[in-house]
Symmetry: C2
Subunit: 245 residues, 2 copies
């Protein structure tokens, strides 16, 4: 937590849209969704609200810009071991987003809001583009590009959101409690659901307790990749498989 304490001292750098967005991200990371207010932002930047409105139209635009900055950084990060197939490149993009959403829990909500509010703004196309290019590289026929890319993107964002929510719930429940303890408690809670109404959830609860979340996430991606391969590339069934872990 080595945040530079520039609290109420005079600002030295001139204000800029970049500085404002940077401060918004820091504030969101430190205090969550509810912590980003123009009051908190003006204090952190040592200005008045009018100064912020000179650079940014309103709060929604600021949130979109913060979301865009973090997603762009996540998509630009090079993976540790360079992927050498479209499948591996898709997995790399997916884990980049997965990690970004875990590091910035507010991101999953904002991505969902932006997909609803302004689906073809700037952030979502970036994600569709980087996945879609690999779908194309797989050799999927053109009239299936949209379906295949949508299936991948929606799975990635949905599963990453659910994972972040689990991590966040663990933290909120009790600061000392870690992820494993939380999943344990949650798993017990599901097993106490009415067996007549929730037979499936009860049955699946046991698995949840001991699952590895990154492995689970990867299994889902491979499931969708298998669907794409089987449906659109009938000759290459075996290509999706990875060495067993």
């Amino acid at each position: 937590m080595a945040t530079r304490t520039r609290r109420s001292q005079r600002r030295t750098e001139a204000l800029s849209r970049e500085r404002i967005v940077e401060a918004a991200v820091e504030l969101l990371d430190a205090t969550g969704e509810g912590g980003l207010t123009f009051r908190a932002l003006t204090e952190r930047l040592a200005t008045g609200p009018g100064a912020i409105y000179w650079h940014v139209a309103n709060k929604d635009e600021l949130l979109d810009a913060a979301t865009g900055a973090v997603v762009t950084a996540a998509l630009a990060t090079e993976p540790a071991e360079p992927p050498d197939s479209p499948q591996d490149r898709i997995r790399a993009v997916a884990f980049g987003l997965f990690d970004a959403i875990e590091d910035h829990p507010w991101l999953s909500t904002q991505l969902a809001l932006q997909l609803s509010r302004n689906p073809w703004g700037s952030v979502t196309p970036g994600i569709f583009e980087s996945i879609g290019q690999q779908v194309r590289a797989l050799g999927v026929p053109e009239d299936s590009w949209f379906t295949a890319t949508s299936a991948l993107v929606h799975y990635i964002l949905g599963a990453a959101r659910q994972n972040a929510a689990n991590t966040a719930s663990a933290r909120t429940l009790a600061p000392g409690v870690d992820r494993a303890e939380f999943l344990d408690a949650a798993s017990r809670a599901w097993q106490e659901l009415d067996p007549d109404d929730y037979p499936f959830i009860r049955a699946v609860a046991a698995q949840m307790r001991e699952h590895d979340d990154r492995e689970q996430f990867l299994a889902g991606i491979d499931l969708v990749l298998t669907g794409i391969t089987a449906l659109h590339l009938p000759g290459e069934q075996g290509r999706t498989s990875r060495p067993a872990t």
Copy 2:
């Protein structure tokens, strides 16, 4: 728009949690996310805020209850032609949610928020349960239930949200503009993106203009179903196929 105008006249029925949730849904449908305020709600119910707080803890709980009511109704609706395979039952549940989200655009945002805020509340388990039961009925091995169900649920909610966002954007852009005109305009906008940064989106833009959204949605579900079948039911490749439309 034949809403009963009970505006400021004296309330006859006693207040109840049910009446409040019903009014909240009506208000959300009529005026959108921003339209649901305690002020508007008290006027519609001819009471004071304290009366509402007697039945409901706070606004988040009210939104969760409204979301739950609509989702429960959607899941309980019987499909027109009774499905006779797990695949068809999954498609029926998916279209129930698709239609509910299209009828209540605020629903997609609320589902996303609830998945982030309180992932194992009451609404999400209901959706997981109804999909999961059919995944089990497919014969998927138990250790893949969670992966397969997650992939389906995340695709369904993500694609339905995107569809609702397209419809909503069309309405917001201009009341007279319909979906087709909006997609046309959006498609043109994508084709003007920088070809170096967005080659895929540009290429896919043309398809978007003439796609049928329900067919597109179905294609994605079948893609995931194919993945489930190919990965977990190696003996039954052919079972997923439907008669060509």
